[in-house]
Amino acid sequence: MKKLSARRRHPLAAVVVLLLALACTGGLYAVFAPADKAQAEETAQSLTIEEGKKLYTVGCASCHGTGGQGTSDGPSLVGVGAAAVDFQVATGRMPAATSQGAQVPRKKNIYSQAEIDQLAAYIASLGAGPSIPTEEQYGPGGADIAKGGELFRNNCAQCHNFTGKGGALTHGKFAPTLEGVDPKHIYEAMQTGPQNMPSFPDTTLSEQNKKDIIAYLNAVNSDETVNPGGLELGGLGPVSEGLFGWIFGLGGLIAIAVWVAARTAKAKKS
């Protein structure tokens, strides 16, 4: 250290200090600049959360409480995460009608995606939870359709039927059809377990598993799905097939039998 202090007045000292200062500034910038950006984002985020809170107060607070703590009319939203909000609001389930049946059905969504994002941000700020998945997570890229089918039959078909046509649960509750449901919402539903549906967190159903399932559903239950055999008859299995066979099969044959057995018109009457 002595040596260093002795060289303080060295002609090159200023240059060294300058270099050091530059390096430090660079380093500090490197350290602090992202922080600044984050800070800026945080500001934007807090604005979003503010907006979300306003929307929440108008549309949700009456049931879920002013701070999302829940009331007798609605569960607590602390920790449900942005994914749950996006699913519930974007599929029109929330806000629910004041008097509902056994479960809240899917209906027309009244919020814009921006508003939903604001709401989601607000709820996410109340406690950590699953975030809204990205296109990369639920998109078709890299998915194994056949594996998805197996996973679907193991985890989903028991309630939603082979190809996601829906089915009955106890006391009027039901697993809804998955036809026409946005892949993103399917992903969110698996992640968050809305209403009576159990959740399938990444620890039990990995991200790749979810992707596979969505790809399978897209293959067997979308507008483009080919039903090689013809009319799908609701995809419900033998009940609708039996009904169809009775009405159009046997019914048609009986109509033909009536024609075959009927007396031909007589000349007098014609």
Partner: protein
């Protein structure tokens, strides 16, 4: 002998080729004697008499398409990895049975069509048998001399159910596998022998590696073989008894009125075969049935909601679903009533309709031949019993699809199940009472028609201002048709004391029979036919108007 042969062959030498072939066959098979009796055999015309033909033809179609399917189907449960052309199944582990069914559906040209014809024809075959059986029941066509043919038909229906069930299980898909699992559970519920039968049927524990091959030989050989025999017997008896007919002018218990087999029925019945085949083929081109690729291969730990059997097993499924879960444990044993009771009820319920003809003939004590059909209204108790049976059947069908009913009518599945539980007992009673009332009402209307004529729809104003509807008297044909039915008198237990004053013992069965007879033919159960006297009195009275 040889001289006769040479003379005949010389005399037939100039005959046309067809005749020569027939001569050849006659010399060996005696076909001329057979044709003499049958070529111009008379068949009456009525659409409901063709229901049996629907069944016969769909049975033939099933056999034809079934043989085709065996050319491609592998009845094996060896696990293979799928690499056919159906993408959402690529690389999946499945049994060879399932994989070959996918192969038939996607890689054999026309294979899917044949599969769908086979399955649609099976659904229609069973539906046709059900309706045919109901036609025979409600018109009383099961009476002497046709009781045995009724039983043949009934056996065909029951065997058809099991043939259908074993066939449905062959592709080893998730839906049918669930059905097989149910069967195995039902077998296990049988007291004492359940586990043994299950082990023997499946070659060990469920699912094992044997049942597809075993069901296959049952499905394509054992059951259809028996059925084919029964069908032939059924048809021979139809020919032998000659067809029944409805009463009408010139149609009596001692004749049969209609068109001859050659040519009219040859064309109509033969044509109807093509019509049935055509409709089913078109159906198979338009509507999907049992899309096993959507269901996936069977895994005992996978399942789908909406797991149902084909419709003809639906009422059994309903019985199982509606049954409360009773289980009795005693001395280290378990009596699984929750499954075993439905199994027994299934048999009793089917047996009830099968044995009905014998019960009715015991009650009436009628040992004569019946070739004239009853109009259902003229046998109110029988009709009411039949409707009650059908009602219970239908309620159980609803029970078998209670989950689909619940989701599609926005009901609670528990409520539907309770409806079925109560309905199974209350529904038939209600149906019995209502049907009997309707029958009696129709009988009264027939009587009114005979006595007062047909309502013409013409309203006439009488001079004093009253409006009346003009009634047209019926033609003699109509009068005859409406009064042609027979009416039994209720059976009385004769005097219990004989001429010598010795008391006769009245057997319990005799009392029961008298009671049943009263229920069948008492004043509350039929409206007496108009008598000649009543008719004359009223018609002569009419003259004064």
């Amino acid at each position: 002998m040889s001289t006769t042969e040479t003379t005949t062959s010389r005399s037939r030498g100039k005959a046309p080729a067809g005749e020569r072939v027939a001569d050849w066959a006659d010399g060996r098979l005696g076909i001329y004697s057979l044709a003499k009796a049958n070529m111009r055999k008379i068949f009456p015309d009525h659409w409901s008499f063709m229901l049996g033909e629907v069944c016969l033809y769909s049975f033939i179609i099933i056999i034809l398409t079934g043989v085709y399917l065996t050319l491609f189907f592998h009845p094996s449960m060896n696990e293979v990895e799928y690499h056919g052309s159906y993408v959402p199944m690529q690389g999946q582990l499945m049994s060879e049975a399932f994989s070959s069914t996918l192969h038939i559906s996607f890689d054999v040209r026309g294979g899917l069509l044949i599969r769908q014809i086979h399955h649609w024809a099976a659904i229609i075959f069973l539906a046709g048998m059900f309706v045919h059986m109901m036609r025979v029941f409600f018109t009383g066509a099961f009476r002497k001399p046709r009781e045995i043919n009724w039983l043949f038909g009934f056996l065909l229906f029951v065997l058809g159910m099991f043939t259908g069930f074993t066939g449905y299980s062959l592709p080893d898909d998730l839906l049918s596998g669930t059905g097989v699992r149910f069967t195995q559970g039902a077998i296990l519920s049988m007291p004492i022998v359940g586990t043994y039968i299950s082990m023997f049927l499946f070659g060990g524990e469920f699912p094992g590696g044997d049942f597809v091959a075993r069901f296959y030989s049952i499905h394509i050989l054992l059951l259809p073989g028996i059925m084919l025999g029964l069908v032939v017997g059924h048809l021979i008896l139809v020919f032998y008894h000659k067809h029944t007919q409805f009463a009408g002018p010139g149609r009596t218990n001692k004749n049969v009125v209609g068109m001859p087999l050659l040519p009219v029925y040859m064309a109509k019945a033969g044509g109807f075969f093509f019509l049935v085949f055509g409709v089913i083929a078109a159906l198979a081109g338009i509507a999907s049935v049992n899309p096993i690729w959507a269901m996936g291969p069977y895994r005992p730990d996978h399942v789908s909601t909406g797991a149902q059997p084909d419709w003809y097993m639906g009422f059994a499924e309903g019985l199982v679903r509606a049954m409360p879960g009773w289980e009795i444990n005693f001395w280290g044993h378990t009596l699984v009533l929750g499954v075993f009771v439905p199994l027994v009820v299934f048999g009793l319920f089917l047996g009830a309709i099968a044995l009905y003809p014998f019960i009715e003939s015991w009650v009436t004590g009628d040992k004569r031949e019946h070739h004239l059909l009853d109009r259902p209204r003229n046998a109110p108790t029988r009709t009411a019993f039949g409707v009650a049976w059908v009602t219970a059947y239908m309620i159980m069908l609803i029970g078998g699809g209670n989950d689909i009913v619940a989701t599609h009518f926005h009901l609670s599945i528990n409520a539907v199940t309770w409806f079925v539980r109560i309905g199974f007992f209350a529904g038939p009673v209600l149906a019995f009472i209502v049907t009997k009332r309707i029958c009696l009402g129709l009988q009264r209307r027939d009587k009114d028609k005979v006595l007062h004529g047909r309502e013409s729809g013409i309203i006439k104003r009488l001079p004093h201002g009253e409006f009346i509807e003009v009634h047209e008297p019926l033609s003699q044909e109509q009068l005859h048709t409406l009064t042609a039915h027979e009416q039994y008198k209720p059976l009385e237990i004769g005097p219990t004391v004989d001429v010598n004053g010795v008391e006769r013992k009245v057997k319990g069965s005799e009392k029961l029979r008298a009671k049943l007879s009263k229920a069948y033919f008492g004043d509350d159960s039929q409206i007496a036919k108009p008598t000649v006297e009543e008719y004359k009195e009223i018609t002569s009275g009419h003259g004064h108007h």
